[in-house]
């Protein structure tokens, strides 16, 4: 999965996550980072229903767009890749043999809102 760099605020680690009850399984909780609250989502559970490999000692990719703030826990962070601008339409490309699909934060947020709560 890829996200445009303009949405990425920072990559954080060693941040304590505060769990929030009655939320979807992939919703890990809230973090407080430099004056902002971020909702943290485990992308493994969000996409594959499995916990990400960085779940126990996560790098958290902090996104900020409009007034929203979300943190994503990935399996790993490959790095910054320069690709053609497709207007954030969810283009797909190959990176080192892996299929990478670009996602927008809104898409993630909407999908999160559609998930069942309280499980």
């Amino acid at each position: 999965m890829g996200i445009e760099a303009k949405y990425i605020y920072r990559i954080a680690d060693n941040v304590s996550i505060v769990p929030v009850p009655l939320m979807p399984v992939c919703y890990e909780g809230l973090i407080y980072y430099r004056g902002d609250l971020f909702d943290v989502i485990d992308m493994g559970r969000f996409i594959k229903k499995e916990a990400s490999t960085l779940h126990d000692d996560p790098y958290i990719i902090l996104l900020k767009w409009n007034a929203e703030k979300v943190g994503l826990i990935p399996d790993r962070i490959v790095g910054i890749k320069w690709v053609e601008d497709n207007g954030g339409t969810g283009a797909v490309f190959n990176e080192r043999g892996d299929t990478v699909k670009l996602m927008t934060p809104d898409g993630i947020w909407k999908k999160l809102a559609g998930l069942a709560h309280g499980t």
Binding site: A5, K6, I11
Partner: protein, 418 residues
């Protein structure tokens, strides 16, 4: 009354008679003048007086002699009850006294014979009973002697067998004594070897103490190495954190450079390089960590092995210590066994000596039993002879009884007063 002999009596009577005759003749001569007549009358008177006197005198003697003769006749018929009359004072009186004494002696003799016969009869009866008893006893003695002879023979055989068994026992005791002596020698050897074993065990204990100290000394650098490895791991942890922070920093720098757009591309390259360096540093750190972990694991294994060796050496030390104690107890026990076996050897030797004495006693007993056997056989012969003798005695007693009966019959022929 004084004793007067017949001769004196005759002389005196004759003189008195002559005096009377002379007096009568004198009277006659006075009365008569005729000499011849006077002589004839005197002779006739003298003859008449002589005849009267002689008749009287002879009758007196014959009468007493007849009286004695009658008594003698009665005595010859066995009547000793009558007394001899002592009438005269002359020589016949001596005859009467002698005869009375003879009758008295005869009475006493007959009484003695009667008593002797009665006693003989009684003694004969007693002897007969005793003879029968002695005969019965002789038979019993004979049977007993036979039984004793058989017993003596069996006793001799048993004693000889017992002597043989005791001899075998003595041989075995001798063998046991020799075995005891060998055992004592072996126990002494075992004592020496056990003492040597104890010394060797003590030396081994000293060597193990040295090995233990050496292991402890050798363990110290390993522990120091382990501490150093632990420090290296801590440093590696710090390096990991630095690499991670550097990577994070490079990622954030890349993000910031991306936001800067075209102006930030150069900074993005630098950030990528830094991230690449951080990645390399992370990989190197990971490799070092792996090597350090291997060293740590090896070191840990070495320490565990050393600890195990230390424990094993400690256990070995304990075992050797217990071996030393065991050897000490063995030495003590072997000493006790040695003293006990020595005591057993002494007792065995004493038993051998006593059994030899017992054997000599048994040999004496065998001789005595044989002598006893011979003696009992002699006793048997003697009792048989005694039986024969007793039979002869019984026969003699029977003949003696017959004689005593005859004596009693003869004695009954005599009649005593009362």
């Amino acid at each position: 009354m004084s004793r007067t002999s017949i001769r004196n009596k005759l002389i005196l009577s004759f003189l008195v008679l002559l005096l009377l005759l002379m007096m009568v003749i004198a009277v006659i001569n006075r009365l008569t003048d005729d000499y011849y007549t006077a002589q004839a009358i005197s002779v006739a008177l003298a003859l008449a007086a002589g005849a009267v006197f002689g008749g009287y005198f002879s009758r007196s003697i014959v009468r007493r002699l007849n009286s004695l003769s009658a008594v003698a006749r009665e005595i010859s018929h066995g009547d000793l009850s009558k007394d001899i009359p002592l009438l005269s004072q002359d020589e016949i009186r001596d005859l009467e006294e002698v005869f009375a004494s003879m009758v008295k002696d005869l009475r006493e003799m007959i009484l003695d014979i009667k008593n002797v016969a009665a006693k003989m009869e009684e003694t004969n009866k007693t002897l007969s009973n005793l003879s029968e008893k002695v005969l019965a006893s002789s038979e019993e003695i004979d049977e007993s002697a036979m039984a004793i002879a058989e017993g003596s023979e069996q006793q001799t055989m048993i004693v000889q067998k017992t002597s043989l068994i005791i001899n075998n026992c003595l041989d075995q005791m001798d063998a046991a004594g020799r075995q005891s002596a060998q055992t004592v020698s072996k126990i002494n050897n075992a004592l020496v070897k056990t003492g040597t074993g104890e010394t060797k065990a003590r030396q081994t204990l000293g060597y193990l103490d040295n090995v233990l100290r050496q292991i402890v000394e050798n363990t110290k650098p390993i522990y120091r190495l382990s501490n150093n490895v632990e420090k290296i791991r801590m440093v590696m942890h710090v390096m990991d954190e630095v690499a991670q922070k550097t990577e994070l920093l490079s990622l954030n720098a890349s993000i910031e450079a991306t936001r800067a757009g075209e102006m930030g591309k150069g900074f993005a390259l630098v950030a990528n390089e830094i991230r690449s360096m951080a990645e390399n540093s992370k990989q190197s750190s990971r490799e070092i960590r792996r090597i350090v972990d291997d060293i740590f694991q090896d070191n840990k294994a070495v320490i565990q092995a050393l600890r195990k060796s230390e424990e094993d050496v400690g256990k070995g030390r304990g075992i050797i210590g217990s071996m030393v104690a065991t050897f000490r107890e063995m030495v003590s026990g072997v000493k006790e066994i040695s003293s006990e076996v020595t005591a057993v050897e002494k007792v065995t030797l004493k038993q051998i000596k006593e059994i030899r004495g017992l054997l000599s006693h048994f040999e004496t007993l065998t001789r005595l039993a044989q002598q006893n056997f011979v003696s009992t056989q002699k006793t048997t012969v003697g009792t048989r002879n005694q039986k024969e003798g007793m039979k002869k005695i019984v026969e003699l007693m029977q003949s003696l009884n017959t004689l005593s009966e005859r004596m009693m019959v003869s004695q009954r022929r005599f009649r005593l007063r009362g």
